[in-house]
Symmetry: C2
Subunit: 360 residues, 2 copies
C-alpha cells in the first residue's frame, strides 16, 4: 500500500430546503456584500435567494455562458469591483460555478455554491476560461467554494434531457476515479459510494423527476463524483468523450452513457479487484459491471449508442486516432486499434460482455 | 437525507520507506528551519530523520509527556523561539503530536507529523493541555498537521501490548462515528473503510508484529479512524472508557477492546442499517457485529473483560453513575441502570448476543 492523497477542505450543507440557510452561511464566512450569480434556468430561485438575503445583496449577474469566455469573465469581474462585493454566491449549473471561479481567481473572493445540476465542479479547484490569447485552465485552491449548499428541491425541475447526461457525466467521474493514476484506497471508497448513490437513484429520477428522495440520492452521488474528480483526474472515458464532443460537434454530455460501459469493459480485464467492488456498488455483486452500466443506462432511458447521437461510422477512425494521442495513462495499454474497437462497440451500442483477458 | 459536513484539508504520504521523503515535504511547505520533536520510543528514528534533514534541523526536543503538561509546552515553545524554527516535525505517538499541536497553537507554525502508533490525533484539529489554571482543550485548524507521513516500517517495532490498545482505540473511533450526532453518509463510508482495514489486519499484526503488509493495513485503518474522530465526536463508548480510565486508574487504552462489543450490542437494536454495514465491514455479513467485535478481540489476543484489567465488581455502580452524567447524546436512550447492565456484561466479558429489541 503506497499512495499520496490530498483531501480538500469543504463544508457541505445538504438537505431539502436548506437553501434557506444561505444568509447564515454568508454570515459564517463574514460576508457583508454578496454578488449573486445565476444562470437562466436558476432565475426564479435566484430571485428567491436574493429576497432572503435582502440588503446583503450588493450586485446580481445573470449572464452565463458555457466554458466561461474571458470577455464575459472580465465584465463580471468589473461588476464585482463596482459593487464592492466581498463574497460571491453562485446558483446554477457548471457554467455559473465556472464564472464564480473566474472571479475568485483574480479577486480572491470566497464563493458559496448552490448547484442545480450534477456538474460537480463546485467540489474542485479546477478553473477554465476560453477565448483569450492564452489558454487559461488549471487548479487553484482559491477558486474552491468555501461552502456548498446542496438543496435537492432545486433539482426537481431539471428535465430528464439534462438530468441524464449530467448524472452520467458524474457517474463516469466516479467510475474513472477507480483507475486513474491518482486513485488510492480513500478516493476509491468515496467514488464507490458515489457510484452506489447514482446507480440506485438515476432510473428512479428519470422515471419520476419529482421524487425528492431519489433526487437527494442522485445529488449526493454527484457531490461525491465532484470530490472524485477534485482528488483524481480524467482518464480513458473522459478523453474519449472529450474527443467526440470537441471534434465532431457531438453534444459532449450525451456521450457519457454510451461510452462508459465500453470503457469499463476495456479496462476490466486488468482491474479484477476494482471491478468486483464496482459490481457491488452497482447493485449486482458478481456480475459484469460493464454490462450493469449498460443495463443502468437502458433502465434510465439515456443513450447507449453513438449511432443514435448522430455520429457516422466513418468518423470512428479519426476519433480513435485523436483519442489515442490524448490518452497517455491507462491501466491497460491503449492504441488506435484498441480505441477503434471500443468506439465501434459504442457505435453499435451492444451490451458489453467482458471475457477474462479479452477486451469486451 | 440531511447533513452538514466539514471535511478537513489533508496531505497524506503513505507507504513503506516514505519517511525518506521528509525533506521534500519540508521544502514543499517552504520550511527552512525544522524543530524536530520525538518521544522516547522514536529516538532512533528521529536520529535517522535528523540525519536526513541535515542542516534543515535547527532544534530537537525529546521530552514528551502524556496529556501535554502546560509547563512542558511552555518550555518547548521557548525552545522553538530560540531556535527560530519555521516548521515543526513530530515523530512518535499521540503525545508527541500533542506537543507539536501545543506549539502550533501559540506560534502558528506548520506541522509535519510522522505517527508511530495508531493514535490518529495527527488527523484532528483537537488539542489539549493539562495542569494550567484553566482547562485548555478545543479544536483549532492551526494545529492540524499540513502533511502526514505514514510509514508502516516505523510501526514494526511496536510491541503487541501497545499495538492492541492503540489499534482498538482507533477501531472504536471508527465504530462510534457510525452513531454519533455528526454522523453522515460520507463519514459513515470512510469509517466503515477504517473498520474494514483494522478488522482485516489486527489479528495478523498481533500474531506477527513484523508483517509489513498487515502493518500497512492497520496504519491505514488508524488514519481513517483519526479522520472519523476529526469529523465527528466521541460517543457512548469513549465516554464510558474515559470514566473507567479517569476515575478508576484503569489504563484507559486497555478498556477499548473490552467495552466496544458491549457498546455496539447496546446501540444495535436502534441502528439496524448501520449494523448491517458494520457486520459487512467486519468481514461477517449478516452476523451480529457486537459478537464479531468480541471475536476480533479474542482473535487479536486483547482483553475482553474488565475483571482481567483489575477492575472490581463493586466499582461498577459508581462508574455507571459517572458515565450516565457524561452521556448526553446517544441514539438509544441511556440511563444509569442501562449502563450498569452494559458494564456488568463488560466485566464478565461474555460474548454479546444481540436480540432484536433487546439490549445485548
Amino acid at each position: 500500500m503506497r499512495f499520496t492523497y490530498e483531501a480538500l477542505p469543504s463544508r457541505i450543507v445538504f438537505g431539502a430546503g436548506r437553501r434557506n440557510e444561505l444568509s447564515a452561511e454568508v454570515q459564517r464566512l463574514g460576508g457583508t456584500r454578496v454578488f449573486l450569480i445565476s444562470d437562466g434556468q436558476a432565475k426564479a430561485i435566484a430571485d428567491e435567494l436574493a429576497s432572503g438575503l435582502g440588503a446583503l445583496v450588493t450586485g446580481r449577474w445573470d449572464e452565463v455562458v458555457q466554458h466561461v469566455p474571458v470577455e464575459l469573465a472580465d465584465r463580471a469581474r468589473a461588476a464585482v469591483t463596482v459593487a464592492g462585493a466581498d463574497l460571491v454566491v453562485t446558483v446554477g449549473g457548471g457554467s455559473s460555478t465556472g464564472l464564480a471561479k473566474a472571479i475568485a481567481l483574480t479577486t480572491g473572493l470566497p464563493i458559496i455554491a448552490i448547484p442545480t445540476t450534477y456538474a460537480g465542479s463546485e467540489q474542485t479547484t479546477i478553473y477554465g476560461l476560453t477565448g483569450g490569447r492564452h489558454k487559461q485552465t488549471g487548479r487553484d485552491l482559491v477558486v474552491l467554494p468555501k461552502a456548498v449548499i446542496y438543496d435537492p428541491e432545486l433539482t426537481l425541475g431539471l428535465p430528464p434531457s439534462v438530468t441524464g447526461p449530467s448524472a452520467c457525466n458524474a457517474l463516469a467521474h466516479s467510475v474513472e476515479a477507480l483507475w486513474v493514476k491518482e486513485a488510492n484506497p480513500v478516493t476509491t471508497a468515496l467514488s464507490l459510494e458515489g457510484v452506489r448513490a447514482i446507480a440506485a437513484s438515476l432510473p428512479r429520477v428519470m422515471a419520476a423527476p419529482d421524487d425528492l428522495e431519489a433526487r437527494s440520492q442522485l445529488l449526493y452521488g454527484a457531490y461525491l463524483s465532484g470530490v472524485a474528480l477534485a482528488t483524481t483526474s480524467a482518464g480513458l472515458h473522459h478523453k474519449i468523450t472529450h474527443v467526440l464532443g470537441g471534434t465532431f460537434n457531438l453534444v459532449h454530455a450525451d456521450a457519457h452513457s454510451v461510452v462508459l460501459p465500453h470503457a469499463v469493459a476495456f479496462n476490466a480485464p486488468v482491474l479484477p479487484a476494482e471491478m468486483a467492488r464496482l459490481a457491488e456498488a452497482l447493485g449486482s455483486p458478481g456480475a459484469d459491471p460493464a454490462a450493469s452500466l449498460w443495463d443502468l443506462a437502458t433502465a434510465s432511458n439515456v443513450p447507449t449508442s453513438l449511432a443514435t447521437l448522430g455520429f457516422e461510422r466513418d468518423q470512428l477512425a479519426e476519433a480513435a486516432s485523436r483519442a489515442a494521442a490524448e490518452i497517455t495513462d491507462n491501466p491497460r495499454p491503449v492504441d488506435e486499434a484498441a480505441l477503434l474497437g471500443l468506439l465501434e462497440r459504442a457505435f453499435d451500442g451492444l451490451r458489453p460482455s467482458t471475457e477474462p483477458g479479452g477486451s469486451s
